[in-house]
């Protein structure tokens, strides 16, 4: 594609403007939306942007279908969670847990990659699916360490406690800025925001580096890339490891934010499906797509249910429609949107927007 | 009227134009030879006739009917058989099963079967063996036999002598001569000496275009032309 040196299309401008708006909203989220739920949503969006972007590096940039991305996310979550639980809330626990999660992810990713990235996409997908299932079962069985189905609760480092006062006024009460308490919760949110931003920027940097170009070459024509002299398996394994590490780091940050880790928040297959939906709906092969997908879907998860609940009541009496519009059926509609997008707009929202206005 | 008449056939594979407008006429009867260097577009021409690549635009007239754009199966049912370069036999099936699959009704015509046995005695010998266990030459025989198990108007054969021992090549030549008495063969061949002994008419493809066509006798006599078009020395 000839994008370099070309005047940016209005579609690209739209996407970039949207990025700035989203970044701004996330940066000032605690001040703009002053309720607990909104802050939860904002933090989840931050985490999922990293998670989805790192998955897009696999799916969109390299054309690898993996079902083990949640597993790496889970390694990060459980790493931090177990360390915090065993060692108490301290930065040393955070560091050891995070590092442990990253190491496990790295080892597992390398092994899977070297063994199975040379085979066909379908087999790789199956192998990752099988591995992820095994880990999920292990996590619920090894309840001594992982807390089983119930998961683990633990305390985050003191600075993130809601009771912690970052700044106090003359009376010794927690200081307010624009009505927002400068407490530990705020610190925790900005911890999530900053680390997510840094991780996302690293991913962005990777995609515009020479490595990103090689990856696209491999995706477009594997045989030719190999013939030119690129060691396809090595590159794929490297990308698989990189994305695994990123997912693991995102997991650790999420574990610190939630102060709870269990199969449902860290490992379940529905998270994998969420990630897939986000990448495809946002747009494969562009980091901006990951951002759009994550924002839209997390918002949908939290707010679409309310909307659908209202819609469901509105059509009460018509057979089956109320059931399909029930708040719990939001996945049904997303699934349909997903299929339609894969057929008609394989580039997703961001990709489609960015090509708009380019040719004419 | 010629049996097969190709006009300005252009074929695109993915983003690459492989054929830039191929035109030639295959008259009824005998062996028509398609020559050309590696990568000139000979295999693509056969595959396009067979509908395995979609040619566009241009026309492929077979017995006065335009078959361009038809499905491969329909083209086959009009009476064109295909012997691909890799022979395309089903290794997990026995020799018998390979052949019976090529019959129209699942039954052998005894006379045709006798003819196949006569042309290729090895097939009778290994009748119940799985096809993967055959030698390269025997596989090639099976692939050709599959093309004549039913009456056909035209057989497309892609480089049948590649990698075969000289004695088998000679036997193959005999078989082709016999088959060509009743069926037209369009033969892609790199082995010029083999082709020379068989062909009546011929065409040369280079870089996705027909650069020469005429009779084999004229072409065989013109060493300069051979050198220029095929890069043959001496």
């Amino acid at each position: 594609m000839k994008t370099t040196g070309m005047k940016q299309s209005y579609g690209t401008l739209t996407v970039k403007t949207a990025m700035l708006v989203i970044a701004g909203l996330l940066l000032f989220a605690p001040f703009l939306f002053q309720d607990i739920r909104a802050l939860e949503v904002a933090a989840r969006i931050c985490i999922f942007i990293v998670l989805v972007a790192s998955y897009d590096l696999l799916l969109g940039y390299t054309g690898i279908v993996s079902f083990a991305h949640t597993m790496f996310f889970g390694f990060g979550c459980y790493g931090a969670a177990i360390a915090l639980r065993q060692m108490g809330p301290g930065w040393d626990a955070v560091a050891i847990g995070t590092l442990g999660g990253v190491l496990v992810s790295l080892v597992v990713a390398t092994v899977i990659g070297l063994i199975s990235l040379r085979v066909k996409a379908i087999f790789f997908a199956m192998i990752t699916l099988a591995t992820a299932s095994v880990v999920l079962v292990l996590a619920s069985q090894l309840s001594q360490i992982t807390g089983g189905e119930d998961g683990i609760t633990y305390r985050a480092p003191d600075i993130f406690k809601t009771a912690t006062k970052l700044m106090v006024d003359e009376d010794g009460k927690v200081l307010r800025w624009f009505g927002v308490r400068l407490n530990g919760k705020l610190a925790a949110y900005y911890f999530v925001f900053t680390t997510s931003l840094v991780l996302f920027l690293i991913l962005l940097r990777v995609t515009v580096s020479p490595l990103g170009t090689v990856l696209k070459a491999i995706r477009e024509n594997e045989a030719r890339a190999e013939a030119i002299g690129y060691r396809v398996v090595a590159y794929r394994t490297f990308v698989f490891c990189l994305s695994a590490v990123m997912a693991s780091l995102a997991g650790s940050v999420y574990a610190i934010w939630l102060k709870y880790t269990g199969p449902d928040t860290a490992l379940s297959f529905s998270i994998m499906i969420d990630i897939l939906l986000m990448v495809v709906i946002g747009g494969m092969g562009t980091m901006w797509g990951a951002v759009i997908g994550a924002v839209l879907l997390v918002m949908a998860q939290y707010y679409l249910r309310d909307l659908m609940g209202a819609a469901s009541e509105a059509v009460a009496g018509i057979p089956l429609l109320p059931e399909l519009l029930a708040p719990d059926r939001w996945l049904f509609w997303l699934g349909i949107i997903f299929i339609l997008l894969v057929y008609f707009f394989p580039r997703g929202i961001a990709g489609t927007l960015m090509t708009r206005g380019m040719r004419t | 009227m010629s049996l097969l008449s190709i006009r300005d056939m252009k074929t695109q594979i993915g983003q690459y134009h492989v054929l830039h407008g191929v035109s030639f006429e295959v008259p009824e009867g005998g062996v028509f030879i398609l020559l050309g260097r590696n990568g000139a577009g000979k295999t693509t021409t056969l595959r396009s006739i067979m509908g395995l690549w979609q040619p566009s635009p241009g026309s492929v007239m077979f017995q006065g009917r335009d078959i361009a754009g038809l499905a491969t199966a329909d083209i086959a049912r009009l009476g064109i058989a295909y012997v691909p370069e890799n022979m395309g036999i089903f290794g997990g099936l026995t020799v018998e099963e390979n052949l019976i699959l090529a019959t129209a009704k699942g039954r052998f015509d005894p006379a045709r079967l006798r003819r196949i046995y006569d042309l290729f005695p090895a097939l009778e010998k290994f009748w119940t063996k799985q096809a993967w266990s055959l030698s390269g030459g025997q596989k090639q025989m099976l692939s050709v036999a599959r093309a004549i198990v039913e009456p056909r108007a035209l057989i497309l054969i892609d480089e049948p002598t590649k990698g075969l021992a000289p004695s088998i090549v000679a036997a193959m030549g005999e078989a082709f001569r016999e088959i060509a008495q009743t069926t037209t063969i369009l033969l892609v061949e790199q082995n010029f000496n083999f082709a020379k002994s068989l062909g009546r008419d011929m065409a040369v493809i280079d870089d996705g275009r027909v650069v020469h066509s005429g009779t084999m006798a004229d072409f065989a006599a013109d060493a300069d032309l051979q050198g220029a078009l095929l890069g043959l020395s001496a």
């Binding site: 996409a121 897939l276 399909l324 997303l334 894969v342 | 395995l52 199966a73 049912r77 395309g88 089903f90």
Partner: protein, 263 residues
């Protein structure tokens, strides 16, 4: 597992594997009576898994399509059979003939659904994305998500109790060996389907075409066969087998949830 099914079709010799496993288990377990019980249970289970997986492996082998929606067929088969049985609840207690009729209707219902769903899936969902593995995986995943949601919407999220015909309840006691009748039934039905598939693949022209198509699609076309029709047929067959397997599974578990097909 799907690979195993394919090999199972190809070489009869692999059939000896369960026998070998059973023999090893016999040595390990020691007590003959519990060995028989467990072996029958294992065989019944294996046959049901075979029913469900054989469709997947057929489709994968011939069409090079890995259908993640396959497990949805299993779930649908289970729920449809269960619903039919529940609707015909009165028949189940009304003697062997009525109960058998209800059971047959339930299985036929599941199979019919499988055929129809297979036709729909092949022509509408998968046909546009042949040879594009990435989109194939994504599309069939999407279809799986939607199907699961439809099941949830139609049957609700609560576990569904599956009524069984009375004559399949209970167990036969021979000496100190007890064998659940339903397991025997599952095994027998699976064996019948297995034999049917073997005959289809090895003794018929369709089977010949399928085996040839697995190896070289283009050549099958070049011999004058429309491989697309074969694909549709095989896909429908595979889906029907999955639905049948799901239906049998429903009767085996007697309590089913929408996530059943995911295994």
């Amino acid at each position: 597992m799907d690979k195993f099914g394919e090999i199972l079709h190809r070489f009869g010799g692999v059939n000896l594997l369960p026998v070998a496993l059973a023999a090893i288990a016999f040595v390990l377990i020691g007590a003959p009576s519990s060995w028989v019980t467990l072996t029958v249970a294992g065989l019944a289970m294996g046959m049901m898994v075979f029913l469900m997986a054989s469709g997947l492996s057929l489709v994968f082998g011939l069409m090079d399509v890995l259908n993640f929606g396959h497990s949805a067929f299993i779930s649908f088969g289970a729920f449809i059979a269960a619903s039919i049985l529940a609707a015909l609840g009165g028949w189940l207690d009304g003697g062997v003939i009525l109960a058998s009729a209800a059971l047959a209707l339930a299985l036929v219902g599941a199979i019919t659904f499988g055929l129809a769903a297979g036709l729909f899936f092949e022509t509408v969902i998968i046909r546009p994305v042949y040879r594009d593995h990435l989109r194939q995986i994504l599309i069939t995943m999407g279809a799986l998500i939607v199907s699961e949601q439809v099941i949830l919407a139609v049957w609700g999220g609560t576990p569904f109790t599956v009524p069984r015909p009375a004559f399949l309840e209970g167990a036969w006691i021979i000496g100190d060996v007890s064998i659940e009748i339903y397991r025997l039934f599952a095994f027998a039905l699976g064996a019948v389907v297995f034999l049917g598939l073997m005959v289809l693949l090895n003794r018929t022209r369709i089977g010949l075409l399928i085996r040839a198509g697995v190896e070289n699609r283009e050549m099958v076309e070049a011999l004058g066969f429309k491989i697309n029709r074969l694909f549709i047929g095989v896909f429908m067959l595979g889906s029907a087998l999955a639905a049948l397997g799901g239906a049998m599974w429903a009767g085996y578990e007697t309590l089913i949830t929408p996530a059943l097909g995911a295994r």
